[in-house]
Symmetry: C2
Subunit: 354 residues, 2 copies
């Protein structure tokens, strides 16, 4: 490099490692999907166990016509992370994803981003890893059958995580749209699951120890009615995750022991928006630290009112950063202006003209 080139070429500080969708998929296959989910769950569990160390706030949601766009920041003493994520239920009509996401991890000490990554695939993985991790604490012992109501984009990821972390290999699938059931059934059979296609939600829950609800319509829906839920079941409620969007009949909530990520956010966005603001809930980080019991007996109905919290994304960003450092899974992106003399940004600009 000539002296002149050295003057205008970006320094190492200018580059942010970027993980594209293609590289994220390469990484997942390189690690193996189930191993990826297990390792991701370990990172999430480690961060839940040090919950009080995090700077936490409910996500910043912009409710726009047609959907919502959210920023989900959190930080510990060393790293800051945030995720951009949208939720547009009608997007599939125009060939778009309902949810797309990307995220950034930064060094707290300098404020400099150290990772930019796609998070559409990664969010599907972290949501599934969190559900299965929570089920390890709450599902009945020796659970082997899971009902899955809602066979959209998240469905197969949930199944993979429940097999990897909880050993569940038998699935009972139902969706209002038979094509969605067909898609999930095809994908999951190819992965070696024993799949039963069901004609109704009622049929799906028969014999299941775990019920996963994961539907996308933004409305107060009743995917599960009270009579469908029996003693000892664990409900993994994924789809009720923003104001005005729930899946469970209120009577189920009143019979269940409810576990949440971050009450301040879940009371606004989760199933429990249907309950009084002081209805008792248990925080999962306390369960994972062993400070509060998870499932207490075989007859209890447990409910994970999942909405997705920033710390889970933080864990995922941290995991991906650990995995891609020094590999070809990340490519350098010239995203940060970094003049030789930090106060001479203008000089950098004018010199770049020559």
């Amino acid at each position: 490099m000539t002296a002149d080139a050295a003057k205008t070429a970006p320094s190492d500080l200018a580059y942010v490692p970027f993980v594209s969708v293609e590289n994220m998929m390469r990484l997942v296959h390189h690690v193996g999907i189930e191993t990826f989910l297990e390792e991701l769950a370990s990172h999430i569990e480690a961060d839940f166990k040090r919950w009080p160390e995090f700077d936490k706030s409910p996500r910043v949601a912009s409710h726009v016509p047609g959907g919502v766009i959210e920023l989900m920041p959190t930080a510990d003493n060393a790293l800051y992370g945030f995720k951009y994520v949208n939720g547009h239920p009608k997007n599939t009509r125009t060939g778009h994803q309902t949810v797309t996401a990307f995220g950034v991890l930064s060094e707290v000490a300098t404020g400099y981003p150290v990772l930019l990554t796609e998070m559409t695939v990664l969010t599907a993985l972290r949501t599934a890893a969190t559900s299965a991790l929570v089920a390890r604490h709450l599902a009945p012992k020796d659970a082997s059958v899971m009902a899955m109501i809602g066979c959209g984009a998240q469905c197969e990821f949930q199944a993979m995580a429940f097999r990897a972390l909880c050993g569940i290999n038998r699935l009972r699938l139902y969706d209002l749209d038979p094509k969605a059931v067909e898609k999930a059934s095809r994908n999951l059979t190819a992965q070696g699951f024993e799949v039963t296609r069901c004609g109704s939600g009622q049929e799906a829950v028969e014999g299941a120890q775990v019920i996963t609800t994961c539907t996308a319509d933004k409305q107060y829906a009743t995917i599960l009615t009270d009579n469908m839920v029996g003693a000892g079941q664990h409900i993994n409620a994924i789809g009720g995750d923003c104001p005005g969007k729930t899946e469970l009949h209120r009577d189920i909530l009143l019979r269940a022991e409810i576990f949440v990520e971050y009450p301040e956010q879940t009371r606004i966005e989760g199933e429990i928006q249907a309950l009084d603001p002081d209805h008792p809930v248990t925080e999962l980080w306390q369960v994972m630290r062993g400070e509060t019991p998870g499932r207490r007996d075989a007859k209890q109905i447990t409910l994970f009112d999942s909405v997705g919290f920033a710390i889970e994304d933080f864990s995922a960003l941290r995991y991906v950063r650990d995995k891609v450092q020094g590999t070809s899974f990340a490519e350098p992106l010239d995203m940060l202006a970094d003049p030789d003399d930090p106060r001479d940004l203008f000089g950098m600009l004018t010199r770049s003209a020559g």
Copy 2:
């Protein structure tokens, strides 16, 4: 492209146009710095004039050891934008920028990002364009001399904008650090300014119709004392922009007519954090719409208590998007997962293994 490649290659929806630092600098030179600042100011003014249409909230600030990391979102009915920006005053000691930034513009209808861009250079330009735009409404007629106290990274951008928009060509520079004065003086002389280096702030303000304060230390500093400010001057106060960081003596505030971007944010972050929460201020969007007067007479002291608001970044993102569409200034980034069937994200992942 073969049928198999078509199955795994990302679709057009997967790509987000990305403007790197290098391309941003190329774009600025392609347009011309002063033209860029003028066009940017026009976009900012247009957005100030339709202020009530925006979804507004104070920025989300994470105060971390050593600085602050902020997310600044806003939206109108068609577009959503946010900026990530850090402020770490001690960063220069390790060769880092005090401020780095990047931003994203998205379509409200789908939530899909349509632009990712560096914003360190762009923020310097939009901050300067906003200051000069505001000065066009507030500075005394025929102002020709500007004092600049603080000669850091923002200094030359301010000077360029004040020449482009207000015709000011004579500068009086002062900084505690003589090296900063030397750097700015060298850069600005090369741009054709008539530059006077001053030995004190007191000396710098002599004969100036406009005073720009732009220092970086995070503290309650007194860059300007009351005796330094005379009748008819316009103060462009850039540096007092977060809690605990101000530049002006309180007595100046009490004598001046104060103009702000967004009171809810400025009362927390601006010079007026030193005043009562109900101290009267004028909102600039009302001045630009002609609903409220700007400068009323030749003797009035006017103060722009600048903190930087999300709508200015939105305008900058909108401007850059208009400029780069269909050009080589933006490169496509594979950032959004976009399966053929939106509900078959898992299928896209498993097919990518082959």
